[in-house]
């Protein structure tokens, strides 16, 4: 079962006011650089349980959702 996992994120705030995530910091210290942002849109995550701005990111060749919920970032993690 998938679950909601809040994560640390390094992000870039552009001069226009857009927020772009650059890197996800996993709790074990690993860092996952985001190769490319494929899509940005408001969306709910039924899997994790929450809603916010959804960034579809390419990380290590796979596309992953990263959500910005007000001022916190979360991902749909595999297990607790």
């Amino acid at each position: 079962m998938s679950c909601k996992k809040y994560v640390d994120v390094t992000a870039r705030f552009t001069a226009e006011g857009t927020v772009l995530p650059l890197e996800i910091h996993w709790e074990d210290g690993r860092k996952y650089p985001i190769d490319r942002i494929l899509d940005i849109r408001p969306a709910a995550s039924l899997k994790a349980g929450g809603a916010g701005i959804r960034y579809t990111c390419r990380i290590e060749g796979r596309s992953k959702y990263l959500y910005l919920e007000e001022n916190k970032w979360f991902v749909e993690a595999k297990e607790q």
Binding site: A44, G49, G50
Partner: protein
């Protein structure tokens, strides 16, 4: 012809909770108040719980009896406010005429923003967007007036769009029970029934003079509503309604047994009401108190201040004397509400009273504003009258900062 939508978030609190807790999504869920604080009623339930006969307003123990497996979660008002705001942001993409009706409902007038689309098309789009972007569902009514649009949103749910047109309203609306119509509450419905008026259609076809003699001006309004003649506009979103009264109410954690108990609760309420008055730059001319006793019998009384005031102690003294004049202590008191009304701006010049120490009043006002500053920075409990320390359980209630959300009136 106007194109008006009424969007209603289906079992709003419960849906937001279910979205955030995937593990309870397919179980009967209700949002309930805190029984410790004696707020132990069902605030919202999901459709699964509804199937067991759980109803909004039921005591938690009654609901558990009906549905033994019921999952009751505590309310999280900041979260509901966020989702309400997010929904409104979506509505505002379609029109600036968005009139919220509580947290979970809103009317939209999209007549001028159709740009070639039909109202139904845009309603479907809004329904899909709310589902995709917020993860909750809405039902939307589309019609040519606000009253029928609201009926439409109740017609089919969840996650549905219902269209009521001029050509179809007689077939769709008229067979519905009169109680479904906006502003026909249980007592109006009983009264109508006693005259053989059971459906909206029968209401619509009742002679106007009969309704007028039964309900006065209100009878004409009902007649208009039932015949689809409601022409009230959808307010613009930035036209915040002017404040007409400021009030708070609280259910005491235990029954109040004597005047001293009541005075403590009144002083807590007066503190909140006074602070909100000063914060919003108002003074009030009148106060009303609402008393509910342990048997849930309730009544209100009101009184006028000698002059406009925003001073907490004056509000407290007036409401306390009002209480003493009107309560004979047949029963313990369960909850108290306090409202001030007849408001004016606090910069409006007022007549000084020859028989009152106006300088002292001015000093009091300054003192209370200074106290407000402290309370805003450090919390409501930072400064308290010593009288509140007699019973800390009673005085720990913080009506100003607890998220009490009150329903709004239509008129």
């Amino acid at each position: 012809m106007r194109s008006i939508l009424h969007s209603d978030c289906n079992s709003f609190y419960a849906s937001v909770e279910c979205l955030h807790r995937p593990e309870i999504r397919c179980k009967p869920v209700a949002v309930g108040g805190d029984p410790e604080q004696r707020h132990g009623i069902i605030l919202a339930k999901n459709p699964l719980a509804g199937r067991y006969g759980v109803k909004t307003g039921q005591a938690l123990w009654q609901a558990r009896q009906k549905c033994p497996g019921l999952i009751i979660v505590p309310p999280n008002f900041p979260l509901y406010l966020r989702f309400s705001r997010l929904a409104k942001e979506i509505y505002l993409d379609y029109t600036d005429q968005v009139e919220p009706f509580g947290l979970d409902e809103a009317w939209l007038d999209i007549t001028g923003n159709l740009s070639g689309n039909t109202g139904t098309f845009l309603a479907e789009e809004i329904r899909r967007r709310i589902k995709r972007e917020l993860g909750i569902t809405v039902s939307i009514g589309v019609s040519f007036n606000k009253v029928f649009a609201k009926l439409g949103s109740d017609y089919k749910k969840p996650d549905a769009v219902t269209v009521i047109e001029k050509s179809t309203y007689k077939k769709m609306v008229w067979p519905l029970p009169a109680g479904d119509l906006l502003y026909v509450g249980p007592s109006t419905q009983r009264r109508l029934s006693s005259y053989g008026i059971h459906t909206i259609g029968e209401l619509a076809q009742s002679p106007l003079h009969l309704l007028r003699s039964l309900f006065g001006k209100y009878g004409e309004i009902l007649h208009c509503f039932a015949n689809g003649l409601d022409v009230s506009p959808v307010a613009k979103y930035d036209n915040q309604p002017t404040v007409k009264s400021i009030g708070n109410s609280a259910t005491a954690p235990r029954d109040l047994l004597h005047n001293e108990d009541v005075r403590i609760l009144l002083s807590v309420l007066a503190d909140s009401v006074g602070r909100r008055l000063r914060e919003q730059g108002f003074k009030a001319r009148a106060v009303s108190i609402h008393i509910r006793d342990a048997d849930l019998f309730s009544f209100s009384r009101q009184a006028v201040f000698p002059q406009y005031t925003n001073i907490t102690s004056e509000i407290l003294e007036k409401s306390f004397s009002l209480f003493r004049q009107n309560y004979s202590w047949g029963k313990p008191v369960r909850s108290i509400g306090m409202h001030v009304f007849d408001l004016t701006g606090d910069t409006v010049p007022t007549q000084a009273n020859f028989f009152q120490d106006e300088k002292k009043r001015l000093r009091l006002e300054h003192l209370e504003k200074a106290a407000d500053g402290l309370k805003n920075r450090f919390g409501t409990g930072i400064l308290q009258p010593a009288s509140q320390l007699i019973d800390r359980k009673l005085s720990q209630i913080d009506p100003k900062n607890d998220h009490n959300i009150h329903p709004v009136g239509f008129f």
